[in-house]
């Protein structure tokens, strides 16, 4: 990310000034700000998306509903929320690898994955994902063979995407909850795959 010509302390001061003015005028409530920050730091995050993925892996019917109409299938789990009102779920297969980007800014399914990581919002990812996705994925340590098609989905304010990663082999006996623990944020954006647990362990319930 570019480094600003403003110092961090100048920016922090400016932000405090604006906060104090908005609070004084009753436009914002400091307690509400703390609640918003707490929600996005602690409650809303990729574990929500992981529940959706794990359910799709264990329930064929749910997966069909999810791929046909992501918005309503996600609503079934009560996970609809701000910035995720209209969802399309795209499935990775041995033939197709999906990758999500927002070239214009940072559109992302907040309610399902939390706030996007810095790399997702970076100029490098926004500019390059659409023209050289294989190279971009290599920077994440992911080599996609030439015979696998890569589909890149450009998000916008009204429509956001979730990648349904491939279920790793060797996980047939795992519970839905244990499967959800394997699913990472990057796997649901398309910059990682989901891997089986290293060894059979306590999570294999």
């Amino acid at each position: 990310m570019p480094h600003s010509h403003h110092s961090e302390s100048d920016i922090a001061l400016r932000v405090r000034a604006i906060e104090s003015l908005l609070a004084e005028k009753g436009i914002i409530d400091p307690a509400t700000l703390d609640a918003i920050i707490d929600a996005y730091e602690h409650r809303i995050g990729p574990h929500n998306g992981a529940r959706i993925v794990a359910k799709a892996w264990v329930s064929y019917d749910y997966k069909q509903r999810l791929l046909a109409d992501g918005t309503s299938a996600i609503a079934e789990l009560g996970l609809t929320g701000f910035s995720s009102e209209h969802m399309v779920v795209v499935e990775n297969t041995p033939q197709v690898h999906n990758l999500v980007v927002c070239t214009l800014c940072s559109c992302y399914p907040w309610a399902i994955l939390g706030l996007p990581p810095t790399w997702y919002k970076s100029f490098a990812y926004r500019s390059r994902a659409v023209i050289e996705p294989r190279k971009v994925l290599q920077e994440f340590g992911l080599d996609i063979p030439d015979e696998v098609e890569i589909r890149v989905w450009d998000s916008n304010a009204d429509l956001r995407y979730l990648v349904l990663p491939e279920r790793p082999s060797g996980t047939e006996d795992m519970s839905e909850e244990a499967l959800a623990d394997l699913v990472t944020r990057n796997a649901m954006i398309g910059t990682a795959k989901v891997y089986p647990p290293r060894s059979p362990s306590t999570i294999t319930a």
Partner: protein
């Protein structure tokens, strides 16, 4: 309108900056900018207007600012354009707070 935000396919942006175990916010001010934007765009201006405000940032500034600096720009533009706060009030409050620090 065309602008620096229309970044798909642009060249020369370098490697992807991947941070291990990244925290949700990198500083308290980032968290506050996010929360103030969230609180106001739910109540005072729609989210589309907020995004458009960040796209109105002069291109040179857009390309040299961090993500939440662009949000801060958008927030300040909107609260002043909607006459919730004046630019003078902001500058005066900055001066007052910085004096209090010494």
């Amino acid at each position: 309108m065309n602008g620096p935000h229309d970044m798909g396919g642009m060249h020369g942006m370098g490697p992807i900056p991947i941070e291990a175990d990244e925290s949700v916010f990198h500083s308290q001010w980032e968290a506050k900018v996010f929360a103030m934007s969230f609180a106001t765009f739910c109540n005072y201006f729609p989210v589309d207007e907020t995004r458009h405000a960040s796209e109105r940032m002069p291109p040179g500034d857009y390309l040299t600012s961090s993500y939440y600096e662009r949000w801060l720009y958008a927030l300040e533009l909107l609260i002043t354009e909607h006459n919730l706060v004046t630019p003078e009030e902001i500058e005066q409050r900055i001066a007052k707070l910085s004096q209090e620090e010494y």
